[in-house]
């Protein structure tokens, strides 16, 4: 008991010694923090979004290359993207979500560009920004062509600061590789 009393006053004399009381305080505090951390992790994992296979977020097999003539833009509604076949035969899968505030951007066939109804952003067929406020080109999805069949992976929307030539998939190169 006498020892405990001196422990209480350890602030006055000893600083380099960790008392049993200090250690226990620290241990309880750490245990409390650990519980909070575990709770936060469990809650995060519990609420984290789940991707359902076969729905948006999965891989779409949308048909043969020949179904999409050069110079065409075809909406794939279930996959929420446009399959763009550029005039030179290159392929792009563009996410239809406007990079400004998320509206669904329709393709305007007469104007030959994507025009967002919400804030009048406009995009080239390859997704590049023609008209702000959109801060970057339309996001794209990865395309693979296997035996002339086009697969689009909607799992990750690939963001880009500028439309690059390397974003475009050329089916012949794809087949040969």
């Amino acid at each position: 008991m006498a020892e405990q009393h001196t422990d209480n006053k350890h602030d006055d004399n000893t600083h380099d010694q960790t008392t049993r009381r200090d250690f226990l305080k620290l241990a309880w505090g750490a245990a409390g923090l650990l519980v909070l951390g575990e709770g936060a992790l469990v809650a995060y994992k519990f609420f984290a979004p789940k991707v359902v296979a076969g729905e948006f977020g999965g891989v779409f097999t949308i048909g043969l290359l020949d179904d999409f003539p050069p110079g065409s833009v075809t909406p794939v509604t279930a996959g929420r993207f446009y399959l763009v076949r550029l005039a030179d035969g290159g392929l792009l899968a563009l996410y239809r979500k406007c990079t400004h505030l998320g509206c669904a951007v329709p393709w305007d066939q007469a104007e030959g560009k994507f025009i967002c109804p919400c804030h009048a952003s406009a995009f080239e067929p390859d997704g590049d920004v023609l008209n702000p406020p959109a801060p970057r080109p339309l996001d794209r999805f990865a395309i693979t062509v296997v035996d002339g069949e086009i697969n689009v992976d909607t799992g990750t929307a690939i963001q880009r600061d500028h439309a690059n030539q390397s974003d475009i998939v050329y089916p012949s190169a794809e087949v040969s590789s």
């Binding site: 984290a48 977020g57 406020p133 801060p135």
Partner: protein
């Protein structure tokens, strides 16, 4: 024996006494005060209040009105929970059922909708009232901050509730609103994905928003409102004063029952009647069912976000959505902790020169906000003037720095040309910014039409 069973024959009275300990009716002031202290609901009130603080044209009953609206929202909200399923398949059908099949369905939905909107307006007016009568000064600093958090929760409650009808208005307003999150550096996209339950607004979003709207936000609000009112009691009410009137030495105090409670009840009844008349007359809006494939033109956010959406049309999104609102919130939270050089608690607009300075602020905002909007819309195009810079600088840092510089000049001019005190200059600046935000909101709601182009209100409709 007698201590164990003092009144063997009086069981009914003992049951009543065990619930209600004070003798009713209340005979004198002492018992009235005791009743307030012993009553679980009333004890958030003081037992006695200063008589001048009861003046209606001082508080306008705005805090009380907010409580009334919260109560209406809880009652009608719980009722709506019984007839609503938060899934994309049934949510909109339930709205139609409320309008066509369920008796008084429209009335309850209208009451909930309008009370929610009115709560936001009331909370803002309450905040303005507290600000302009100096009610946020020490010792009430923290209650101002609590009020600010409550205001954000009210916005959150309105926003999450906005999605639940699952019509076009709901779907696209929430799409636009949550897309703002994507612009928060580093964390934004992850947070947006978490609350949306995926990359876009979907069934998962509806589930999340429903949980937030009916459980998490109301529960948090319940505790914070209790805390807020209890703090009002602890910090005491501010007393209204006329211009140049000194602080009173002695204040007459009256018992809360009946002086405060009767005002509260009568005011609540009158407001309840007005809200019911309104909700019987005017239907809450409902458009066609949500269609994720087709954005309406224009796609507008909820009206209370239109000021922000207007900012977004002029600034790079990081600035319009994050930096400027963030600065405004930090500024509001910091206000009560600044140094005060004017004794103005309880005086509307601080003083004679304070009133003049506030009016200058309001007028400046009324003139300059539309002018700046028009200039940016039709004349100045910063990104093409500064083509070598990324838009985050040319349309973000540059105009923000310009605006801050103008505000600084304005503040210094008030201080050293018009010779007003720091408190009065801050009040004028606050007025300028508040009126600017109101003007931006009006422009966004009334003057923005197809493609978010500027047009006259009759062309918008």
């Amino acid at each position: 024996m007698s201590t164990l069973d003092p009144r063997p024959d009086a069981l009914p009275e003992r049951v009543i006494d065990s619930i209600q300990r004070d003798d009713l009716p209340l005979a004198d002031d002492r018992s009235r005060m005791k009743f307030v202290l012993n009553n679980m609901i009333l004890h958030i009130h003081p037992a006695k209040v200063a008589k001048p603080a009861l003046k209606f044209t001082y508080t306008w009953g705005l805090g009380g009105l907010a409580i009334l609206l919260v109560m209406i929202l809880v009652f009608t909200g719980v009722m709506l929970m019984f007839v609503y399923t938060p899934t994309p398949e049934s949510a909109y059908a339930d709205m139609l059922r409320l309008k066509t099949e369920i008796q008084f369905g429209s009335l309850i939905r209208n009451l909930h909708h309008w009370s929610g909107n009115l709560l936001l307006v009331t909370a803002v007016l309450h905040m303005l009232r507290v600000f302009y009568t100096g009610g946020f000064r020490p010792p009430r600093e923290f209650n101002w901050v609590l009020g600010l958090i409550l205001l954000l929760l009210v916005v959150g409650a309105n926003f999450t509730g906005y999605l639940l009808p699952w019509d076009q208005l709901a779907y696209w307003a929430v799409t636009v609103g949550t897309s703002l999150l994507d612009y928060i550096p580093v964390l934004g996209p992850a947070v947006s994905r978490l609350i949306l339950g995926g990359p876009e607004v979907s069934g998962a979003t509806l589930t999340n928003f429903y949980g937030l709207h009916v459980a998490i936000i109301p529960l948090t609000m319940f505790f914070l409102i209790s805390f807020h009112i209890w703090r009002v009691r602890k910090d005491t009410l501010t007393l209204p004063r006329n211009l140049d009137e000194p602080r009173p030495d002695r204040v007459e105090k009256v018992t809360t029952i009946p002086h405060l409670v009767s005002i509260e009840l009568v005011f609540a009844l009158v407001m309840l009647a007005l809200i019911i008349v309104w909700a019987s007359w005017i239907d809450a809006p409902l458009e066609e069912a949500a269609n994720p494939d087709h954005s309406p033109n224009p796609a507008k956010a909820a009206w209370y976000f239109m000021g922000l959406q207007e900012l977004l049309l002029h600034f790079h999104p990081v600035f319009g959505a994050i930096v400027i609102p963030g600065l405004a919130l930090v500024g509001l939270a910091t206000l009560p902790y600044l140094r005060f050089d004017t004794d103005a608690e309880g005086i509307w607009f601080r003083s004679r020169s304070g009133r003049r300075a506030a009016a200058i602020g309001a007028l400046t905002a009324l003139v300059f906000t539309p002018v700046l909007v028009l200039l940016d819309e039709y004349v100045v195009d910063l990104p093409s003037l500064l083509p070598s810079l990324p838009t985050i600088i040319s349309n973000g840092w540059v105009p923000l720095a310009g605006l801050l510089l103008m505000l600084l000049v304005y503040y210094q001019a008030l201080r050293f040309v018009f010779r007003v005190s720091a408190c009065e200059a801050r009040q004028s600046l606050f007025t300028l910014l508040a009126v600017s935000f109101a003007v931006l909101t009006v422009i966004g709601v009334v003057f923005r039409g197809e493609g978010m182009a500027l047009m006259w209100p009759w062309e918008v409709l």
